[in-house]
Symmetry: C2
Subunit: 239 residues, 2 copies
DNA sequence: TATGAATTCAATTGAATAATTGATTACTTG
DNA sequence: CAAGTAATCAATTATTCAATTGAATTCATA
């Protein structure tokens, strides 16, 4: 295929990657995989896709070098190929935020409680954590939490938050986080907590970015590990 | 359009950007625009496209927030929207290089004189430039050169290089650069120079990356300027 | 070895894209 | 104002892509 012009051939390769990025479902799947390695059916479920459809999208991501798969027993576990994929997604996000009117509109409408909710940077949160002055709240699902989370975080999925409020000490500031910058969970969590009198704030983005920034993470199966290449702890025991 | 799920709507926006990236011709056009603001016909010419086709690709890039256009007289000048676009392209490139077998294959075949040609990093070149120990050679077209180039660079387009070799002092190391990491010009220039006994090396990537890294540039219309937002000096006098 | 579960494959349909062509719209200049 | 230039628009065709359905693999376990 066209080697008359080598740089055109390289561009064709880049285009393969870009087109694989270019579907909302695949972006959603990537965000989910950014939480940790995960089986096809689990991903399909969380993304609201049929298994066959998710499988095909995932295969396409794999062909484009954005994801990798390995077989474990009868399931196939997919994960992002590379920390650089998170960077790529971040760059994409930045362009859309800065230059697309529609995206800015959406942010204003749904996410721009942003100003009033004063997101914390990773660095700021890190400092508070070291000082022991903060309760870190992970509002994702228990499975995602188990695959990896911020050290010392408490896991209360959003839908259970109201019921389990008492688990959070009212005396201390709470910082909530979820799947990523455009995951609504942490926004809603902070709103709810504030209604109940908490001093609550959001982390600026989510777990994947924290991990990609090589901040410490820990997983459920035991010891904290500084920032190791997330061992295959997919806990999707389903049905 | 689908505001039931705000983060799905955001993903749809990101997908718009990604799909706009996802065509080899558009990537080529972006590389060309990364050299500096440029008129449609010029871009079409350099990319080897018909004007109508280039126009449509450019419009799509504009709609996706990757490029902007302004009208000057009877021509429309397009440029990249944002320094972040160069970052995005870089991230794309890195994924393809690391994870796509085909891309690695191409690099080996066409570009992996890489090792033997020992590319210089921007920082290294900067140091040599300050020390006055290097001749910087720009092998792009005069128009591209005029729109912006490394300070003190000599412009000899590749096809004229052999004829005008005497313009380069044989006593000093030569560092060549061109449009970007996958532009063949600088590879060929270095090969040619070495055949003629020069101590020649390549810059690791091209002018756009240099500029995006906020290194000093200068343009033909006069004074060097530290790294200002490239003024509209499109010198495409054509035909 | 038979059963069931997880995933992939194959074939179909409808939708979105890309390139081409020719016509049309702005703008400049004589 | 007329002529010419630069860019865009409109309509066509071939291609690629997405989602669905149902069948086919592959593996684990009884």
């Amino acid at each position: 295929m066209s080697n008359e012009n080598p740089s055109a051939a390289m561009f064709a390769q880049f285009a393969v990657v870009a087109r694989a990025l270019g579907h909302p479902h695949r972006l959603a799947l990537m965000q989910l995989m950014a939480q940790g390695e995960c089986a096809v059916e689990t991903l399909a479920d969380r993304a609201g896709l049929t298994v066959a459809n998710a499988s095909q999208h995932l295969q396409r991501l794999r062909r484009a070098g954005l994801a990798t798969a390995r077989k474990e027993g009868q399931r196939v576990l997919y994960r992002l190929a590379d920390g650089a994929v998170v960077d790529l997604l971040g760059a994409l996000r930045r362009i859309a935020e800065n230059n697309l009117a529609e995206a800015r509109q959406l942010i204003q409408t749904y996410f721009d409680r942003r100003d009033s909710l004063e997101p914390l940077t990773r660095r700021e949160l890190r400092r508070l954590m070291r000082a022991g002055e903060v309760t870190v709240l992970d509002v994702r699902s228990p499975e995602e939490f188990a695959a990896g989370h911020l050290p010392g975080a408490i896991n209360i999925p959003l839908r259970e938050l109201e019921r389990r409020l008492r688990m959070l000490p009212a005396s201390q500031r709470v910082v909530a986080y979820c799947r990523g910058p455009y995951c609504v969970f942490s926004y809603e969590a902070v709103a709810l907590l504030r209604e109940h009198g908490y001093d609550a704030r959001r982390l600026e983005d989510g777990y994947p970015e924290w991990k990609a920034a090589r901040m410490p993470v820990e997983a459920n199966d035991g010891a904290a590990r500084p920032s190791a290449p997330a061992r295959a702890a997919d806990t999707a025991r389903r049905r």
